[in-house]
């Protein structure tokens, strides 16, 4: 039943798809096609059919070099009525048997019998001739296309018509060089594609994939995103090489956008008046990148050069008009920025504090003025508790002024520069570097990739900002539910956790939340914020922070879940601030020989204690040395005493790995103890003392990680994870 392989080519021709939706859309299309072929048995686990995907802003393309032309035939046993009702007493077929035979297009004599757990049934072997692939594709292609999930789709032929990310205007569907006749709305599949809007022909015949790619190339469409990317980068090199010492300020996100904004991308370099370089680099780069999608260029020392690179969707700038146009637009943009930069300077940040009364933070949590006041108190408290008294005044000033840039024209125009602008203005006003940097950094980190604040003062202001938001929102009942998180509280907490890892304060999460609640209490007494039940915040916010912590350690940092659980369980009650270093240590110690057997032993101890407690055989008491038996028990006790001291010293100096190493070195003694000593002896005093020894051991050595959470390799002891 060999069937010939033929190539399959699909091109969805559309109006311009937003650049950031192209790759996810393409991945969905690939998945939908491959799953569809699997369902149709045209692709199997042994011989999976895989698609090559390509895209430009105006087309999504799927290509498969070899697809069989017909489904394999299938044979299945179709079950009919029970045998006992299928034949009468004379063994003649009843209407039930006759009807089933007719349905199977055969005669009752040819039916078979199968035995099932429910008894004997009539059955018939049904052979289905595989359908031609062409037919299957006819159904699959429109289904797959319209099945792509987009965050916001549209309709264009009226409500009864198809929905897609942008209008579909052409459809190329070829299987073995023949058109697969299908349609999306008014668009009928054909053997035609189209070239670049300005440089190519609008209607081009396609026979196969190789020809398709070549035809597109001749018509100024580079189908391969990698090729477009390489072209942009290489040609930028060429443009900058003509002048010495210039270098592209790389920006992967922008590059990716540009790759999907043009079918034939060509960079063009432009200049701007060096006098604009007196504006802060952050502002210039934001205007160029964010608003104009231009790359910026730096000089040898890293300073911004009065140059930019735009990427056109054309093969060249024939008359120089394009460069001229881009320069003209940029000049207007820079003029605006300069105007804002200068007029904003007429008011100091301190003067702007009053204006924050007009800017709502959250309707029930007051204005940004009130938030700034709370941040000032809170950041001060955090600094005090951290023993950063020399920083205190500057931290408070930075926290008070951090939000003032929300009233500036520059931030109103370029919202992504909030914080940065405040920092720049603080510096211009002559505030200390400490204050300016803290304001500048206080929104950091804004994403997983973003850095944390550069200074402790910045970290404290950022923490105060985040805690104020989290505690306030949880207090007035705005905690995220399900997928709804309108105040981005998850991201807020995530950033707080990132900061806590780089700036380990001697505090627990409980402490900082309580401190924040105290600050809110003052505001509540002054009537700025409605009162809420203080007791409800921690029970909700504690697990929320824990969850974010777990997510960060496991999904972002990639630590195994059992190690994360072990460390978080040990941090448990106190919700210690920064178990991150402990996690690193657990991760390292885990590879060593003693560790997993010790984890097994700890688990055993935990079980023994639990069982004894349940049976009422154990109540915690003080360990009595006189009751210890000489031999393994006394040896374990002495070793424990010595080790506990070493562990405490290592922990004190923050060397968690050495602490864990010391704990792991107990392993032979613990094993020996269990080999030689019976714990549950009849003598109550002896037994309780023995259990106490084990309990002490367990609690003393579970402060870094709860080893019973570690999933060990021995299957019978691995528990039911």
């Amino acid at each position: 039943m060999e069937s010939k392989q033929k190539e399959f080519l699909l091109e969805i021709g559309t109006e311009e798809i937003p650049d950031w939706m192209i790759e996810p859309g393409l991945a969905s299309l690939k998945r939908l096609l491959e799953e569809g072929l699997q369902r149709a048995r045209l692709s199997s686990a042994e011989q999976p059919v895989s698609f090559q995907m390509h895209a430009t802003p105006r087309r999504l393309v799927a290509f498969c070099p070899g697809l069989v032309s017909r489904q394999p035939d299938s044979v299945e046993m179709v079950q009919g009525p029970p045998k006992r009702i299928a034949f009468d007493s004379q063994g003649k077929p009843t209407p039930a048997a006759i009807k089933f035979a007719a349905k199977m297009e055969t005669t009752p004599e040819k039916l078979q019998t199968v035995t099932t757990p429910k008894g004997e049934y009539l059955a018939c072997r049904k052979k289905d001739r595989g359908r031609p692939t062409q037919e299957i594709l006819r159904e699959l292609v429109p289904q797959a296309i319209l099945g792509i999930p987009f965050p916001r789709s549209m309709y264009w032929e009226g409500k009864a018509g198809p929905r897609f990310i942008r209008p579909i205007r052409s459809l190329l569907v070829l299987f073995g060089g023949r058109v697969v006749p299908c349609r999306i709305g008014a668009v009928q599949a054909g053997a035609w594609t189209f070239g670049h809007r300005q440089l190519g022909k609008p209607r081009l015949r396609v026979r196969d994939f190789a020809g398709y790619v070549e035809t597109l190339r001749r018509n100024y469409v580079l189908l391969d995103a990698g090729e477009r990317r390489a072209k942009i980068l290489k040609e930028i090199q060429g443009l900058l090489a003509s002048e010495g010492g210039l270098r592209l300020k790389e920006n992967e996100e922008l590059l990716n956008t540009l790759v999907y904004l043009a079918e034939y991308p060509t960079p063009v370099a432009g200049q701007f008046d060096p006098s604009y370089l007196s504006l802060p680099e952050e502002v210039l780069v934001t205007v160029m990148r964010g608003h104009q999608k231009y790359f910026s260029v730096e000089q040898e020392g890293g300073a911004l050069a009065p140059r930019f690179v735009a990427v056109m969707n054309l093969e060249k700038d024939r008359s120089g008009a394009i460069r001229h146009g881009h320069e003209r637009v940029l000049r207007a943009r820079f003029n605006d920025a300069r105007f804002f930069w200068e007029t904003d300077g007429k008011l100091s940040l301190e003067q702007r504090l009053e204006m924050l009364k007009q800017v709502t933070f959250q309707s029930r949590l007051g204005s940004y003025f009130e938030k700034a006041k709370r941040m000032e108190s809170l950041a001060g408290e955090l600094a005090r508790k951290n023993g950063s008294t020399p920083l205190l005044a500057e931290v408070q000033t930075a926290a008070r002024l951090a939000k003032c840039d929300l009233t500036t024209e520059l931030v109103k125009e370029f919202t992504e520069l909030q914080g940065v602008v405040g920092g720049l203005y603080a510096e211009r006003e002559g505030k200390s570097k400490e204050i300016a940097t803290a304001i500048y950094d206080h929104y950091k980190p804004q994403s997983m990739e973003d850095a944390v604040p550069r200074t402790l003062a910045g970290a404290l202001v950022s923490l105060a900002d985040r805690l104020d938001t989290l505690v306030g929102c949880f207090g007035v009942g705005l905690a995220p539910t399900g997928s709804k998180d309108p105040f981005a509280l998850r991201r807020t907490a995530q950033g707080m956790i990132r900061i806590s890892i780089d700036y380990p304060l001697p505090l627990s999460w409980r402490d900082v939340v309580d401190t924040t609640l105290q600050v809110y209490q003052e505001a509540q007494q002054q009537g700025q914020v409605p009162s809420w039940n203080k007791e409800i915040v921690w029970p909700e916010l504690g697990p929320f922070i824990d969850d974010r912590y777990r997510y960060y350690l496991r999904d972002v940092s990639g630590y195994p879940y059992d190690e994360v659980n072990a460390v978080l369980a040990a941090a448990g009650r106190s919700k210690r601030w920064a178990p991150f270093k402990m996690l690193e240590a657990v991760h390292r110690i885990r590879q060593t020989a003693n560790f997993e057997p010790l984890a097994v032993a700890f688990k055993r101890i935990k079980n023994i204690l639990q069982q004894a407690e349940q049976k009422g055989l154990f109540s915690r008491r003080n360990l009595e040395e006189r009751l210890l038996e000489p031999g393994p028990e006394t040896e374990l006790y002495h070793l424990y005493r010595a080790t506990a001291q070493r562990v405490a010293d290592h922990k004190q100096s923050g060397d968690f790995f050495s602490a864990l190493e010391a704990i792991a070195s107990l392993r032979p003694a613990v094993d020996h103890f269990f080999d030689k000593v019976l714990v549950m002896v009849p003598d109550a005093d002896l037994r309780e003392n023995r259990l106490t020894l084990l309990a002490t051991l367990l609690s003393e050595f579970s402060t870094i990680a709860d080893f019973s959470e570690i999933v060990t390799a021995e299957p019978k002891k691995a528990g039911s994870h």
């Binding site: 809007r197 904004l261 024939r318 003029n335």
Partner: protein, 321 residues
């Protein structure tokens, strides 16, 4: 085609082009609007099943954008060329590009991109999917497939093209400031309009009386509500047909403009903002529902088609919730 040398020549060429494509050439609407979209020729015509093609220049006022005539690129009042094609033709992008060729933009010499920009007007309960069209880095057009208007899902879909005429003209004439460009052979844009920009900026930012603006807003809102209430009581088709739904819409436009004025005066806090926008939206949606109900009830209308056949009242409730 050589570039249009003056602003008015640009307007002539564009209106000529769209007239050639079967568009009715309307004149600007005689009320203050923030955008051409707000004119009845767009807001109301895109509702319901009846095909329509129209193009017009609409002076659009945005009090907060005024810069006393001092900023070379920002204006309190600017001109938009508004084109509505209902239903949206399949080759609309090509037709649009042809209109650019007609005003003298040789697309082989310029970098043109369609960059995602989904338009939304919370005050009108309207949104659409589309792009900003970038020409050598300059945004020259907002290109939108309307999906919803006045809270009503549209069927058929209209396409809206909004061209910023000052920008385009300034680009074609290659002037650094909008005020330097030629309106006609004799006069510059600055000679015609600079004083107006200055005076209205002064009024909008400094002198407009906030209490009066609020009072006017409330009066217009009340009057509009009264009309909509009245319409809802009507039963007889004849009474409905002569009812001034269009006048009610004028009152929505007045409210919208007064809101913009209050905003420019800094009289609306962030929290209030959402609420006031909601008030205008509920009027706009009420008018849209009444308009559909009225056209549906009028003789000769193609009744029975999806949207139009639903009672107006129900729709405004849906929107208000």
């Amino acid at each position: 085609m050589k570039p249009a040398k003056t602003l008015q020549e640009l307007i002539f060429r564009l209106t000529d082009f769209w007239a050639g494509r079967g568009c009715l050439i309307q004149q600007p609407y005689d009320a203050e609007v923030g955008a051409g979209t707000m004119c009845p020729e767009t807001f109301l015509r895109v509702l319901g099943p009846k095909p329509y093609k129209v193009a017009y220049v609409q002076p659009s006022r945005r009090p907060a954008d005024g810069r006393y005539g001092e900023n070379p690129n920002r204006l309190y009042k600017h001109l938009q060329l508004q084109v509505i094609l209902k239903p949206a033709p399949a080759d609309i992008q090509d037709v649009y590009l042809a209109s650019l060729e007609k005003i003298g933009i040789d697309l082989r010499n310029h970098d043109l991109k369609f960059e995602e920009d989904n338009w939304e007007s919370p005050t009108l309960g309207a949104w659409g999917i589309g792009w900003q069209v970038m020409l050598d880095g300059l945004e020259i057009t907002q290109f939108t497939y309307f999906q919803q208007c006045g809270g009503v899902e549209l069927d058929p879909v209209s396409v809206e093209l909004t061209l910023g005429l000052e920008r385009i003209s300034s680009f074609l004439q290659d002037t650094e400031s909008v005020y330097q460009m030629r309106w006609n052979e004799e006069m510059t844009y600055g000679e015609v309009r600079q004083a107006e920009e200055q005076q209205f900026s002064t009024y909008n930012f400094e002198m407009a009386d906030v209490a009066t603006l609020w009072k006017l807003f409330e009066l217009n809102e009340q009057e509009c509500r009264r009309l909509l209430e009245h319409y809802r009581q009507l039963k007889a088709p004849g009474e409905k047909a002569r009812f001034p739904v269009l006048a009610a819409y004028d009152l929505v436009l007045k409210c919208s403009h007064l809101f913009n004025m209050l905003d420019a005066r800094g009289a609306i806090s962030v929290t209030e903002r959402v609420a006031v926008i909601g008030r205008v939206r509920s009027l706009a949606c009420g008018v849209a529902a009444a308009y559909l109900d009225q056209t549906d009830a009028s003789p000769g209308s193609s009744s029975g088609s999806s949207d139009a056949s639903q009672p107006g009242e129900k729709k405004s409730e849906v929107v208000a919730s």
